[in-house]
């Protein structure tokens, strides 16, 4: 357990690492690596399903693919020029278009990056038990070498996710650099379904600038049939992308300066679901656990993030600091009322979200959230308890960084919620590690 906890603490550092490409491009509040991983993993699920892939494998590849960046740092093609800054006029010109390098140079850079990341992966997983370590390594090598069809698919999707983010930051105008990633994405995407998806992106998001690109993306014969479905997935992915930049309210009201985002928290819980769902004797279905973790807080897209203090802070004249010292004390009636209020709001948000996707995927997302929220299945109960551990781990990290911050209320919450051996073991290990 000690080694698993250390692994999670290290992996959590990705929540505070901004993606280098956006920093170089001068984005003021760039997404963190975990934000990218979160949306890519959701995209691997939704698009992978349409492509008939092994969803569990595709999601794991996406979830693990950037773990090495904890030590290797985030690599961007713009590193190739070394130290560019958008503030400098001469650099800005270079940043406006995709990198141009010789084939030899590309190979050399790719080899260097792989070596660096391999070392990082080995360092990160060094003390993990063999089952976990081997699984991470296998999926990462698969991704790097593009061995399975899932790995090839996720590799291409990785570029598309970044493309979407670039459009969200810069629009689709070439005068702002918004077309640079389009160029890079077109170099790598070859899967027929993903090419269709690119065509949908082009039509939906670049339509005013089509002449800039000249030719249209060549679509498959089945494009007409699946165009609508792909539009729904695109809209959904754009919608949940908001969570990459949404700070967690619980930390904000406690004055944490750089709070994790909702997407960052989802990343942690998904990783924990894999770590702790793997060796269990109980019959957890891993694919379901991962999906449930990805889904569990998507309602925040419409409801915003919430805390159990919302209602109390609005009603009381007591000092905010005093209230925040403890986990809320409420009568059963008040707890029920709060649960029902929150549940209704979230249900409405999920209905809206799942309506965007339509069809079985939309229903599945709704159902996964419902099971999680009502704890109406073994996975729902397991994950909702694990969620508290993810929050406690974050609180303890903040407490370690800032002595004024107190994790006490989260400890109380953990003591109310936990009744499975994983939580008990983790609680004991956290006490040893942080106190």
């Amino acid at each position: 357990m000690k080694n698993i906890l250390n692994f999670l603490i290290e992996a959590n550092k990705l929540k505070e690492m901004p993606r280098t490409g956006w920093v170089l491009m001068g984005v003021k509040k760039p997404e963190f690596i975990t934000g990218h991983v979160f949306r890519l993993t959701v995209a691997a699920w939704l698009m992978g399903e349409k492509a008939g892939l092994n969803i569990e494998r595709a999601m794991k590849i996406a979830l693990f693919h950037d773990l090495g960046e904890v030590y290797a740092g985030d690599a961007t093609p713009f590193d190739y020029y070394g130290g560019l800054s958008r503030k400098k006029k001469k650099d800005e010109k270079l940043l406006m278009k995709w990198v141009r390098l010789s084939k030899e140079e590309k190979k050399k850079r790719a080899r260097a990056r792989t070596n660096k990341e391999t070392k990082a992966f080995l360092k990160l997983t060094k003390n993990l038990e063999p089952k976990l370590k081997n699984e991470i390594h296998a999926h990462w090598y698969d991704y790097e070498k593009r061995m399975s069809k899932e790995a090839r698919f996720v590799k291409q999707l990785d570029k598309i996710e970044t493309l979407l983010q670039s459009i969200e930051y810069f629009g689709s105008d070439n005068s702002t650099g918004g077309t640079s990633w389009w160029e890079g994405t077109k170099e790598i995407v070859e899967d027929p379904l993903l090419l269709d998806f690119l065509a949908v992106i082009q039509r939906r998001l670049y339509r005013r600038y089509r002449r800039i690109f000249g030719e249209k993306i060549k679509v498959s014969k089945t494009f007409k049939k699946r165009e609508k479905e792909l539009i729904h997935i695109l809209d959904f992915l754009l919608e949940i992308g908001k969570l990459k930049h949404m700070p967690r309210l619980y930390w904000m009201i406690r004055g944490v300066k750089k709070p994790e985002t909702v997407a960052g928290h989802i990343f942690t819980l998904t990783l924990m679901a894999w770590v702790f769902g793997t060796p269990q004797k109980r019959t957890y279905k891993m694919e379901k656990l991962l999906k449930m973790a990805l889904v569990h807080e998507l309602s925040a897209v419409y409801t915003g993030d919430s805390t159990p203090y919302g209602r109390i802070l609005r009603r009381t004249k007591e000092k905010k600091e005093k209230i925040l010292e403890k986990w809320p004390r409420l009568s059963r009636k008040e707890k029920m009322r709060k649960f029902i209020d929150d549940f209704r709001k979230e249900r409405k948000a999920f209905k809206r979200l799942s309506a965007r996707l339509r069809g079985p995927s939309g229903k599945e997302i709704f159902k996964l959230w419902h099971e999680y929220r009502t704890k109406n299945s073994v996975e729902g109960r397991f994950l909702s308890q694990l969620n508290v551990m993810a929050v406690l781990l974050q609180a303890l990290s903040y407490e370690e960084q800032d002595k004024k911050f107190s994790a006490a209320p989260i400890w109380e919450w953990a003591f109310e919620v936990s009744d499975n051996p994983v939580n008990f073991e983790l609680i004991e290990e956290m006490k040893k590690r942080f106190y």
Binding site: T283, K285, L330, M336, D342, K363, E416
Partner: protein, 157 residues
């Protein structure tokens, strides 16, 4: 965790229904009419996950069978024992500064702390069990909280 599953009548009804539904799905799958039944949009969304995966359906059924074999129905304790916290009790706690906190202690399958229903196997649940009104309790995570038991209530279940 205990091998016994404490359930209210309602909880038992829910578990039995899931078990019966899943058995029907298994029957449909093995008979071969799964495409019609399982691909239908009318399928209860809770069972979508079983569409492709018969082995998971089997393991869930085994899980439910295990639960059903080990159920202990939560009964209202006799009148002379209702001043003590047993599973099923709603306990009102008071802190030194007068703040009130309330929990209902239930079995793990029905626990939902967001609603104030905590598991008898949780640290707080374990501390509450067997206490009486006016008892003083100490909950020590790395921080210490002291509560006094103010009220113990049993409603019918």
């Amino acid at each position: 965790m205990n091998e016994k599953y404490y359930l209210t009548k309602q909880g038992l009804k829910r578990i039995k229904k899931e078990y019966e539904d899943l058995k029907k799905i298994r029957m449909a799958k093995t008979k071969g009419d799964s495409p019609q039944l399982l691909q239908s949009d009318d399928l209860n969304p809770e069972y979508i996950v079983f569409r492709e995966d018969l082995s998971f359906l089997e393991s869930r059924l085994i899980d439910l069978e295990h639960i059903l074999k080990n159920i202990e129905l939560i009964k209202l304790p006799p009148k002379n024992k209702r001043n003590t916290v047993h599973i099923g009790a709603t306990v009102t706690l008071e802190e030194v500064d007068g703040q009130i906190n309330e929990f209902t202690v239930v079995g793990t399958l029905e626990a939902n702390p967001d609603e104030g229903k905590i598991s008898s196997d949780s640290p707080i649940g374990k501390i509450l069990l067997d206490h009486k009104v006016n008892d003083v309790l100490e909950v020590t995570s790395p921080i210490k909280v002291v509560y006094k038991v103010k009220k113990i209530k049993y409603s019918s279940f």
